[in-house]
């Protein structure tokens, strides 16, 4: 196996339901051993791509290769990929042990050997003492781990995870994120993770593909996606962004095109105080929202747009808590992201990578 060979290669992948293209010509290479996330709102096609890779759906056109082999026309049970389902899909009539041993059973592994391996898999997800329980006797987090053990015990080349943490509460979700990352590192297999939670995708992934309307809007590392969004959609969907359209950009930045700046990159002070920033603008404080570690300020600029500012609640925070006070906000030019070039000549001025 060469390192250059992608674990999964999608070429021109399209899936239509009726006259709707759920997946619209997706080309994608997923590197072996990486934690890859497909991020997007519901209906963006990310889950359909996952189901196409798993083989539950047949593509309308395009091909899917697994480690250089074309698997487009193979049945799900004939592909070396396994899925962790959103609802876990544990067999309710089987014990936890039988659930995990199922993949080995249908492959004809002897009873002793498959129970041995299933026990080991359950030990790695710290469920060794629950082997005799039925899935209905487990909590959501435990079911999640059984589903992980069941999918990994057959040692797939690629593990597909369809919003596996969606049904868990926040604390458990954060804990499972850490466990997932550890599991992926220990197993060394490729994870393809579907989520609509941008925080989750940023936390876990080596790379992220942001989906919108069946297409990949942007592909990159979490830092690239967050710091350098390539389109207004990505800037708005991943985290919070202040997006300035052409007119506002002219007024505020003296530039044409659409631009964005993250709320935490904007600094704020009360009016007439000096602010160390490349660019400043004056406005009125419209709302103050306390969110624990930070405070969110909403400022109505005199230029006629509304800007969200995020201030850390540390010792340096200026006490701008009165609604209606006049403030000055500012940012550095390096924090401004150009989302699209001015409309008249897009071909020449499109600068993003």
């Amino acid at each position: 196996m060469t390192g250059a060979q992608p674990a999964i290669r999608l070429t021109g992948l399209t899936k239509s339901f009726g006259n709707v293209n759920a997946v619209d010509g997706v080309d994608l290479d997923i590197v072996e051993g990486e934690f890859f996330s497909m991020l997007g709102p519901s209906g963006s096609g990310k889950t359909t791509v996952l189901r196409l890779i798993a083989g539950f759906e047949k593509p309308t056109s395009g091909t899917i290769s697994l480690l250089g082999q074309d698997v487009t026309d193979r049945a799900p049970f004939d592909r070396d990929v396994n899925t962790v389902f959103q609802d876990y899909a544990l067999f309710p009539h089987m014990s936890v042990l039988d659930n995990v041993a199922y993949g080995l059973r249908v492959r004809g592994v002897s009873k002793r050997a498959r129970y041995e391996q299933a026990r080991q898999a359950l030990d790695t997800v710290r469920l060794g003492s629950f082997v005799d329980r039925k899935p209905s006797q487990l909590s959501g987090g435990q079911r999640q781990r059984v589903a992980l053990a069941r999918a990994t015990v057959v040692q797939p080349k690629v593990l597909l995870l369809d919003e596996p943490l969606g049904a868990l509460d926040l604390k458990l979700r954060e804990q499972m994120q850490v466990e997932l990352k550890e599991l992926q590192r220990n197993l060394g297999i490729t994870f393809i993770f579907v989520t609509h939670d941008q925080q989750e995708a940023l936390t876990l992934s080596d790379r992220i593909a942001v989906f919108n309307e069946g297409k990949i809007e942007q592909l990159g590392t979490p830092a690239e996606i967050y710091e350098r969004p390539s389109s207004p959609f990505v800037a708005a969907f991943v985290g919070t962004s202040n997006i300035f359209d052409d007119t506002v950009s002219h007024a505020l930045l003296g530039r044409a095109g659409t631009h964005s700046v993250r709320p935490e990159k904007v600094s704020v002070t009360t009016e007439n105080r000096p602010l160390a920033a490349d660019c400043t603008a004056a406005g009125t404080l419209a709302e103050v929202i306390y969110v624990g570690s930070s405070t969110q300020l909403i400022v109505d600029l005199d230029a006629g747009t509304r800007v969200v500012v995020l201030e850390q609640n540390d010792a340096h925070r200026v006490a701008t808590t009165e609604r209606g006070v006049r403030v000055t906000i500012g940012w550095n030019n390096s924090d401004i992201v150009t989302l699209s070039a001015p409309a008249p000549a897009p071909a020449i001025l499109a600068p993003h990578p």
Partner: protein, 308 residues
């Protein structure tokens, strides 16, 4: 987006609580007396169940222990187990019991074999629209009278009937009237009662379980055997209870298409009517009841009823 902070909050109209009406006081009383609530809910149906089912069964058992004066034809209320001994040891009764049991079992097996693929298609393959149409199509025969359907089969299976017309080009011929015709007709009559519970059972199996099985490497056969069948086993049992018990008690179909064959129901019928021996009829009627009890006990041992 701008909110004028100086505007006063909107005044809300006060929603009055209705109090003091008789209906309301009744509701309050009931909500404080859960036992009364329960007895009002279940009183009438339990009374009906007790009268019709339990009392009738008890009357049957008692009648079976009486006898008929062969001279006057009057029921004499002297206690005896002669009827029951006669039914258990008489070779006629044994033969008919075995025949009835065989017919009921075959009908049940045929119905399950036919119902499984139809129910699977309805629950897992057909579009929602086709699904609704199929449910109606399966329920439709139940709107027609039992007798009409039995006589229809009599005509279908008659000499020169549709069945013969269909199979004669291939060298086949109609089975005529007899046990095969009885089994075919009963299978037809009870099929909806078997399809519907199995369909409902399959509806409750999430598609993701079938996908998970395939995903883990299970082919079609493994998925059916290890995932689908165990999960719909209670539904199959429920369907089989319908076809089995309905076949055990039937006496009209066998009269219409069964030729000279008799089933337990016919013996009961003739003993009540022509032979005027109600106690013996009651003793015979106990046989299917015992068989059903044995069947339910056997089913229970498989654990199929635990998940109902």
């Amino acid at each position: 987006m701008m909110v004028d902070a100086s505007a006063p909050p909107t005044r809300r109209a006060v929603v009055p609580l209705r109090q003091g009406t008789i209906a309301r006081r009744g509701s309050v009383f009931l909500s404080r007396h859960p036992r009364l609530r329960l007895s009002l809910l279940l009183g009438a149906p339990l009374f009906w169940l007790g009268l019709v089912y339990i009392a009738a069964l008890a009357a049957l058992l008692i009648t079976a222990l009486w006898t008929v004066d062969s001279f006057t034809g009057q029921i004499s209320q002297t206690w005896t187990v002669d009827n029951i001994v006669a039914v258990l040891t008489g070779s006629l009764y044994q033969t008919v019991t075995l025949r009835t049991l065989g017919v009921a079992l075959l009908v049940t097996i045929i119905d399950i074999v036919i119902a499984l693929p139809i129910a699977f298609y309805m629950a897992k393959v057909a579009s929602p629209r086709a699904q609704r149409i199929l449910v109606i199509a399966i329920l439709m025969p139940l709107w027609a009278s039992y007798l009409v359907k039995a006589y229809a089969w009599r005509s279908v299976l008659s000499q020169g009937g549709i069945f013969e017309w269909l199979v004669s080009p291939f060298g086949g011929h109609s089975p005529g009237y007899g046990l095969p015709a009885t089994i075919i007709t009963l299978s037809y009559l009870w099929l909806p009662y078997v399809i519907l519970p199995i369909y409902a059972g399959l509806e409750r199996v999430p598609d993701s379980l079938l996908e998970a099985s395939g995903d883990l490497g299970g082919g079609t056969w493994s998925t059916l055997r290890l995932v689908v069948l165990p999960m719909i086993w209670p539904a199959i049992i429920a369907g089989s209870i319908f076809s089995f018990s309905l076949s055990l008690g039937d006496y009209i179909t066998v009269n219409i298409v069964g030729g000279a064959n008799q089933m337990l129901g016919n013996l009961v019928y003739t003993n009540v009517g022509a032979a005027n021996n109600l106690p013996l009829a009651a003793a015979i009627a106990l046989v299917p009841i015992l068989i059903i009890f044995a069947y339910l006990a056997a089913v229970r041992r498989t654990g199929a009823l635990n998940n109902l």
